[in-house]
Symmetry: C2
Subunit: 236 residues, 2 copies
Amino acid sequence: MSGARLRLYELVLANGRSASPYVWRIRYALAHKGIEFESVPLGFTEIPAAFGGRSRTVPVIEEGGVMLGESWDIAEYLDRTRPDARLFSGDSELATTKLLDAWLHAEVLRRMFGLYVLDIYNAARPEDRAYFRESRERRLNGRTLEEFTADRVQRLPAMRTALAPLRAHLGQHPFLGGGAPNYADYMVLGALQWVASVSTLPLLEAKDALLRSYYERSLALFDGLGRDPRAQPLFE
Amino acid sequence: MSGARLRLYELVLANGRSASPYVWRIRYALAHKGIEFESVPLGFTEIPAAFGGRSRTVPVIEEGGVMLGESWDIAEYLDRTRPDARLFSGDSELATTKLLDAWLHAEVLRRMFGLYVLDIYNAARPEDRAYFRESRERRLNGRTLEEFTADRVQRLPAMRTALAPLRAHLGQHPFLGGGAPNYADYMVLGALQWVASVSTLPLLEAKDALLRSYYERSLALFDGLGRDPRAQPLFE
């Protein structure tokens, strides 16, 4: 595969930052495996047409004639094609991590969407905003992004409580993966990076020491992959 | 270790059934690894004094002079002493499964306790009931078990919604562990067996097809380990 560098299609905001929690997982997974890649940034409006109908979401990777969407399929592909520095030891760990993702989706990502959807709109490239608003408001059964997020401050406590299992775990281990980060970390860091890309409302309390130290420790991973002066603060 | 059969100290109800979600995990883990054991049933009042202060909870296992409490420590011990049919491929899978357990504790087990604590009281051996009531009502800041569970029917919908991630996963895989059960299954089955030991209020709706077929499939595991005519129905 020399010369045929892997390409990662990402979602890009007006400030140039990558904004999808699922793209961020793959960014971390590529770093975990030491795979260099070429980034192809796309705005919200460019994604539906970019892959000839084969994928309507990012991440998408392309390599040596293979084009693949869906972050789970990509993660499995990376382990299959590069057996070193595996993301998953086998089917059992893969399944357990997917189950954890189902919890994360239901309890965390959904709530983050509810808190930050208007922030995402405002952070999108100007030419993407009308499309973003129209497509998301359809999901919200016609409520505007402004109506949907009007009471978001009242929803912060439930969001913070939903993260209690992470704190319980991080009280015992430096990373969600134990002594070293694993894909569970990349899923959670992906969500945090997503929020940090757009947030105008700090997700976490200043006194949330376990999550704060975890976040700081994680920003240092992979030569500071997650560090970015454009990132918004996650803590009050 | 011939002749020195492993002993599993369990919590027993009036009807002879084992009633702790954490004991049930270890029952499944022992079956997964094909380890025969001798059951030592203890009532609630017998546990605090049974281990000379070394453990105040079950499960506890004893084998060749080793006595060990805490289900996670026991699971790790079983993998260390019997490397076949591993429960966890290594530290990464172990950590991810523990993180999943933190979610399960926060979102599921806590709610089950709130729904079924009075049922547990009624199912306990008569001589254990006063102790059970006194110790649990202290945790409830002095509310009686009856007061605490009076509105439990209103709390069923939130309990059922909390299981949505399991349904999402089981729509894709026959077991939480993927094609075959793993410790994530044993954690969830342990919780379901706990409820089935005592329940007077069906946990799940009749139409909950994914969880129903999962439960039936799981009862058949290990020669019907989970099947028991004394078990209460989990479905309406």
